[in-house]
């Protein structure tokens, strides 16, 4: 029988969830509000919350100064390309570790994760030199590969966890029905793991979208994504917070909308296998 939950407890839990949610969302809300203020209102003390004359001036200036669509397109290609490529490589890897484990599987998984512990700047020069050597500086191809490699351990880990939840007997049954490895992965495993794969795709798309070390250091005019677009509005000498906020809002808007519409999928995927 389900545990009875009192209305009072429910109300408290809901209020707490809303409170925490709003607290987390507040910096984003503040950025969005600031983007509609004048520069003087943006730095006003005490800060103005809603009682200001809303203006679209900052968006006009940002539109005029930067080719937003070029940055957006680069972000879409880098985040999308690296995520899809990562999943293509990670599905067979996670399959083998989940269904044909060896005694070293755990070590391999940990080793993969350990690559995430190296500070990125530690390999900046080698990677920069490789890019120069192959003519790949400021190219989307190099960044797709690098972002994919950065996120690959997470993709493999996530898929491994989801695959582990799928009973091996189902795959065995498929094999007995004559399915080869390709059919087994493509027609049996993948459809069953769709929620997990979808949330992996989404999470890694967001991670790649927000990546701001390699995308700033390896790009110039051609492959620069939205992270470079935001960085171009930060000023050491001058207060351009309202314009910076407008640029930030424009940069996070697509991912915010994507997250909003896919939240059900995202939550389902992230909690997949959590309740037995």
């Amino acid at each position: 029988m389900a545990r009875a939950v009192s209305t009072r407890r429910k109300t408290i839990a809901t209020a707490a969830a809303w409170g925490i949610g709003l607290l987390i969302f507040f910096p984003i809300l503040w950025t969005i509000l600031t983007s509609f203020k004048t520069e003087a209102q943006a730095i006003a003390d005490p800060p103005i919350f809603l009682g200001f004359d809303w203006t679209l001036e900052n968006y006009r200036v940002v539109q005029e100064r930067s080719d937003y669509m070029r940055f957006l397109w680069n972000s879409v290609i880098l985040a999308g390309g690296s995520t899809i490529l990562g999943v293509i490589i990670a599905v067979p890897a996670a399959w083998s570790m989940a269904f044909v484990p060896s005694k070293r599987t755990k070590d391999i998984l940990l080793w993969m994760l350990s690559t995430k512990m190296l500070p990125a700047v530690g390999v900046l020069y080698p990677i920069y030199l490789i890019c120069i050597r192959f003519g790949l500086l400021d190219s989307r191809a190099a960044l797709v590969a690098i972002l994919m490699l950065i996120n690959l351990p997470i993709i493999v880990w996530m898929l491994y966890t989801y695959f582990r939840e799928i009973p091996g007997e189902i795959l065995e049954a498929a094999r007995m029905d004559g399915a080869g490895l390709k059919e087994e992965i493509l027609y049996v495993l993948t459809p069953m793991a769709v929620p997990g794969i979808a949330s992996t795709l989404l999470l890694n798309f967001i991670l790649a979208w927000n990546e701001a070390f390699w995308t700033l250091n390896l790009t110039a005019a051609n492959a620069a994504p939205l992270t470079a677009f935001i960085a171009s509005y930060s000023s050491p000498e001058g207060l351009f917070y309202a314009k910076l906020s407008a640029a930030s809002t424009m940069a996070i808007a697509p991912i915010l909308i994507l997250g909003w519409f896919s939240q059900k999928q995202l939550v389902r995927g992230l909690t997949f296998g959590a309740v037995k």
Partner: protein
């Protein structure tokens, strides 16, 4: 649609794009920072393209990212940029390493002798210019004339630190949320480190003696740091240990500072009525000195345009630099946006222009720039060039670490003596490792 028409359309399209490509066959890429004058310049680049047929791609970055980015690119010969926006710190070092194209063949019309001597010296190595100044700055005192009057004091043109401390205490008004003085305390060699180093010159301190021995164990440094900390604790804003240029600009524009000693370029912001609540109540004075010390606490800096040695488009890049740092460019901006908005501090002729002389901060900016001497920054002789920095490659690291120790003093986390002891040890170790 017939095959013939499709082919015809395709050919036409190809020809059109080929023609467009030919018209703009050279495109240069410029790395820059998001400062007001740079952004203004980006707005005028279409005119340059129209005049020369050379296209321009801008890569605008945050200052620290820009520094990391262009340093990586120039040391690895990455060839990502044809022009880099660099400062007075990098230029002589990179010039000495052969990483920059010498600007020794600029055209006669460009009139290289018109560049302010202090700027030219700071951007040269062995007498060769390696980057052309787009705008230059020193530091000076900006103060509230109304608050000074209320305090019953009068700001001299060239005040001493003792006067500044007294005036700061008199203008400080907690009830009305007014801090007597706002100064940079933020860690970073280009932030709080720049201010305290420039200030130390006016107390007779120096980073190194002529044998490259660090001097933080000398009484002049203790006096500088103690004076700064005491004055800021008495009359500075709360949390000044994390305030940099922008934080202080914000405080001053809201009328919360009696005085602010910082970059001369701030003058155009604080006197702009659209941004500043105190625009018509701002006065200017030279950066202070300690009574009896000839050197003043003002720095010298330029944002300049240099050409990395590996570029294939050096000629086009040079053409752009000549255009962007020319007298004509200054006139172009003056015509469209008024004299107060032209890039300051680079050319002598600007300060001889009658219209510019009427700009309230013009004279004090020039005096401040002329009062700084990068080759002879402090009282005793030094082996280095630079007023608020030491132009050696190791300085970026050492300067940042030392300023972190100083910021910890401002935040009340350690004493002046502890910080100086650590600064001495850090500097000694790094310099020994570097083979000095």
């Amino acid at each position: 649609m017939s095959l013939k028409r499709v082919l015809g359309a395709t050919t036409a399209l190809t020809l059109c794009s080929a023609a467009a490509a030919f018209a703009q066959d050279t495109t240069i890429t410029i790395a820059t920072v998001n400062n007001g004058d740079m952004i203004r310049m980006q707005g005028y680049t279409d005119q340059f393209t129209e005049e020369t047929g050379i296209g321009v791609e801008w890569v605008t970055l945050e200052e620290n990212v820009l520094r990391q980015r262009v340093t990586t690119d120039i040391t690895t010969k990455g060839g990502q940029f044809d022009i880099m926006t660099i400062g007075m710190y990098e230029t002589p070092i990179w010039g000495a390493n052969g990483w920059l194209v010498p600007l020794d063949d600029l055209s006669e019309e460009y009139d290289v002798d018109d560049i302010l001597p202090a700027m030219r010296d700071g951007l040269s190595h062995d007498g060769t210019l390696y980057a052309a100044p787009f705008y230059g700055e020193s530091s000076m005192i900006m103060y509230r004339t109304d608050l000074m009057e209320k305090a019953g004091m009068e700001m001299p043109d060239a005040p001493t630190w003792e006067f500044i401390r007294e005036a700061a205490a008199a203008m400080d008004d907690d009830a009305n949320d007014i801090n007597g003085i706002c100064l940079r305390g933020k860690a970073g060699w280009g932030e709080g480190g720049a201010l305290i180093t420039a200030m130390s010159n006016s107390f007779g301190a120096r980073w190194f003696d002529e044998d490259w021995t660090p001097q933080f164990d000398q009484p002049e440094w203790k006096e500088t740091l103690s004076f700064f900390t005491d004055m800021m604790n008495e009359s500075g804003p709360a949390g000044y240990a994390t305030n940099g240029f922008n934080e202080n600009l914000s405080l001053f524009q809201q009328g919360k500072c009696g005085m602010w000693i910082d970059a001369t370029v701030a003058a155009s912001f604080v006197t702009n009525p659209e941004e500043s609540a105190v625009a018509d109540q701002v006065g200017f004075a030279l950066a202070p000195n300690k009574e009896g010390v000839e050197k003043r606490g003002n720095w010298l800096w330029a944002w300049a345009l240099g050409i990395p040695a590996g570029t294939q488009k050096a000629d086009a890049a040079k053409q752009f630099i000549e255009w962007a740092t020319s007298k004509d460019y200054i006139e172009l901006v003056a015509e469209n946006e008024g004299w107060a908005n032209v890039p300051p501090g680079a050319r002598t002729s600007l300060y001889e222009t009658p219209e510019y002389q009427e700009v309230p901060f013009a004279e004090m900016t020039l005096n401040s720039i002329e009062a700084a001497d990068p080759t002879n920054p402090t009282v005793d002789p030094v082996p280095y060039v630079g007023v608020q920095f030491v132009a050696i490659p190791e300085f970026a690291g050492i300067g940042t670490q030392v300023s972190q120790e100083f910021s910890a003093v401002y935040a009340g986390q350690q004493s002046v003596d502890e910080a100086l002891e650590k600064a001495q040890a850090i500097t000694q170790e790094e310099m020994e490792a570097a083979g000095y």
